[in-house]
Symmetry: C2
Subunit: 247 residues, 2 copies
DNA sequence: TGTACATCAGTGAACGCGCGTTCACTGATGTAC
DNA sequence: TGTACATCAGTGAACGCGCGTTCACTGATGTAC
């Protein structure tokens, strides 16, 4: 019973998010819609921030599972395809839940400090994209520089792993080495530093595409949004060596 | 006198943006800090939204001129260098003015509808980045496919201009043709459709990098932020054929 | 089976706060004759 | 030079609204003996 009511509160809060944005989320409004008196909500959430935190965690989980499901529908060996459908899963979810997307990937809510609880679910999308790249890398399926075995042990140092090839990418900065190490442990097992850096860039870049579209920067600029996103996401996959053609 | 007071009001409002965010911007608070009574502000701005609009326009102008100035300090023929310093100019401005950045490139302010006045200044950054690419293209300085003259008249149709080369990029969707036409008229004179699409993607991607950093998604992920951004921005430039090495 | 008690979800009133916007007004400045 | 008038920046009070949070409380439910 208690769990059910808690669920109902967050459900209503999520709906209000869609009309007023995160800054306008109000415990009193939620209580009103629940048919409760405002103080009763404090039985379930001890403050407005706690409710916000719950919404953020739910948001990360929702987008994470949407991306996981989309990506799961693609043959395991079609790495560019997996990248593309994962990106499309992200975009589709964002278009369907713009305010939840804004809550977790948009400007921070002023005065709200995200607690540590939100860190773990935030990693689910990154985990999916990372696994695609490291799977492809270990299968030797990446195009361009950075194939495994070509140049020493991957990822043990910051030295550029592209050394045998014509330099397609700039040299990865040495200061990225510890970050690359952490990424390898978390989401990009086995990939070398440069590829890790470009994967991270591609990851952020895909969110840039989605944010631009969602936040209105493509108004009067891009008309065929689905097709453009497909093209752009596939091109960004090329950054991480996933240079296949879409479709 | 009137102009001076108007300037002072927006100045104070801009400062308040930095502490409370766009949603918390309040005419009364501005008036308080001006030492005026709240209704007096209505002599200068007929509503809160009008003040917001002024701030948005100022923000676009500020970031636009910051990027223009940064880019102007680079030799005209060093196209990858111009791209990189333009991106760095954007990032530096964003780090120095995070709330103004969030106001114009972050989640939309709920209940606020951007009027047409804001469209023109919004294009300044895009104009700088676009000019770099089209300059480089016309000088034949782009790496990879898409050099001028290699395959027919650039940009007259949606057919893939890469046809003679090994296919590095996916085929640009035909639905992008009208968008590419508009981009050529505005910021990318002369470039073919595919390059226009990748340039647009790179543009959005760079903002993705900046937004991720600013909105906290790189916390506990990237430590050497300056160096990583340099690497990532340079790599993204590669999307548009600006494949030079940074530095 | 029946009574005493504890638990706890939800109530209702209140605190103190802030907001955007309107409106009749004061009073200084500048202009016209 | 002096008076009458218009302009308009800024005042002060008010309207009606919403917010987060606290607190003493009611009253139903379930448990222990």
């Amino acid at each position: 019973v208690r769990a059910e009511l808690t669920r109902e509160i967050t459900e209503i809060a999520r709906r209000q998010l869609a009309t007023d944005g995160a800054a306008g989320l109000s415990l009193r409004a939620v209580a009103r819609e629940m048919g409760m008196v405002s103080s009763a909500v404090y039985r379930y959430f001890s403050s407005r921030d706690e409710l916000l935190t719950a919404l953020i965690i739910e948001g990360y989980d929702a987008v994470g599972s949407a991306v996981e499901q989309a990506e799961g529908r693609c043959p395991r060996q079609d790495y560019p395809g997996r990248w593309l459908v994962a990106c499309q899963g992200l975009r589709d979810w964002a278009l369907a839940h713009p305010h939840e997307y804004a809550l977790i990937y948009g400007s921070p809510v002023p005065g709200y400090e995200a607690p540590e609880q939100t860190i773990a679910p935030a990693g689910r999308v990154a985990a999916v994209l990372g696994k695609i790249i490291s799977d492809a890398y270990r299968a030797g399926a990446l195009t361009g520089p950075g194939k495994p075995g070509e140049s020493g042990e991957p990822g043990e140092s910051g030295k550029p792993e592209e050394s045998g090839e014509p330099e397609q990418w700039p040299a990865v900065p040495g200061s990225f080495a510890p970050d690359a190490g952490r990424l390898r442990e978390a989401v990009l097992p086995g990939v070398p530093d440069g590829l890790a850096a470009r994967s991270l860039a591609a990851w952020a870049a895909v969110f840039g595409l989605v944010s631009f579209e969602l936040f209105g920067q493509f108004q009067n600029v891009v008309t065929g949004r689905d097709e453009f996103f497909r093209y752009a996401a596939a091109s960004l996959g090329g950054l991480a060596g996933l240079g296949g053609r879409p479709g």
